[in-house]
């Protein structure tokens, strides 16, 4: 991912490039985080609860979790998320990145409705609309307001 990004916006001026870069990173990290959660939840739903709350049962439970392939895919995506998060925070305001990441709720709802055909309540759609308008407002503010 870093390689193609380097020349992704070659003709843009520096502030515009920084802004596009920030948008691209926030979108990427939100997707990594959602896909990571999906794999973690798939794995844990299959594994279920520990059989008992004794030390041996909990240890067996932990071994079952660690031997699940989906858990490791989930962890890999979460690591990717964290590296992207640290990278974008190295230049962008926390008060820019944090609210912008809420776009993930909209993406997850849309994907759930379109791909999995999940029913989405009217209240939830209204929430998604509020989030999108909020993120649109934040996204228009300066990516960074402190000196380097």
């Amino acid at each position: 991912m870093p390689m193609p990004m380097r020349t992704a916006f070659p003709h843009a001026s520096r502030p515009v490039r920084l802004r596009l870069r920030t948008y691209a990173f926030i979108l990427a990290l939100v997707m990594f985080s959602s896909v990571g959660n999906l794999f973690l939840s798939l794995a844990m739903k299959r594994i279920g609860d520990p059989h008992a709350w004794t030390a041996t049962a909990l240890f067996e439970h932990l071994l079952r979790i660690l031997s699940s392939g989906n858990i490791w895919i989930g962890i890999a995506f979460q690591l990717l998320f964290f590296v992207c998060y640290l990278t974008v925070l190295s230049w962008a305001d926390f008060s820019f990145v944090k609210p912008s990441m809420a776009i993930g709720y909209a993406l997850v709802t849309l994907l759930g409705a379109l791909v999995l055909g999940e029913p989405v309540s009217l209240l939830r759609w209204f929430g998604v609309a509020l989030i999108c308008s909020g993120v649109a407002l934040v996204a228009r503010t300066d990516v960074r307001t402190t000196p380097s």
Binding site: P2, M3, V83, L89, A102, L123, L130, L137, V138
Partner: protein, 124 residues
């Protein structure tokens, strides 16, 4: 909801937000990743892990995570909603007063809309 649950809820929000703000402070000391190539990103990771602020952040986020588990053991899942939604507002206040970021009225309005939207999405 009793006193202990209130304390857990406050810890989820404050320690979680504090953890992210501390991480941001560590990154500010490390400096910006200018060229998006594996080398500079790996160097940023190596440098940030030598920052006490980074580990302060990790400890705070861990406290927040276990407070959430403790909260969910006592209260219904819907109580995690105000924690998630509040963290947007608390995080913006923290960025303003602790990190000196300038939060314009447009950004504040956006944060409040996001906060309201996240509440509705989590309830619906």
């Amino acid at each position: 909801m009793n006193l202990l649950s209130t304390i857990y809820l406050a810890l989820v929000v404050l320690a979680g937000t504090g953890g992210h703000l501390a991480t941001k402070q560590a990154l500010r000391r490390v400096g910006e990743v200018k060229r998006l190539r594996p080398g500079p990103i790996l160097r940023m990771l190596a440098r940030v892990m030598r920052q006490p602020w980074f580990w302060t952040g990790i400890v705070l986020m861990t406290i927040s995570f276990f407070s959430l588990l403790a909260l969910l053991a006592r209260e219904p899942l819907s109580l995690a909603v105000p924690a998630t939604a509040l963290s947007y507002v608390v995080g913006t206040f923290g960025a303003r007063w602790l990190l000196g970021e300038q939060v314009s009225p447009a950004r504040w309005l956006g944060v409040l809309l996001v906060c309201a939207g996240v509440t509705l999405v989590s309830l619906g």
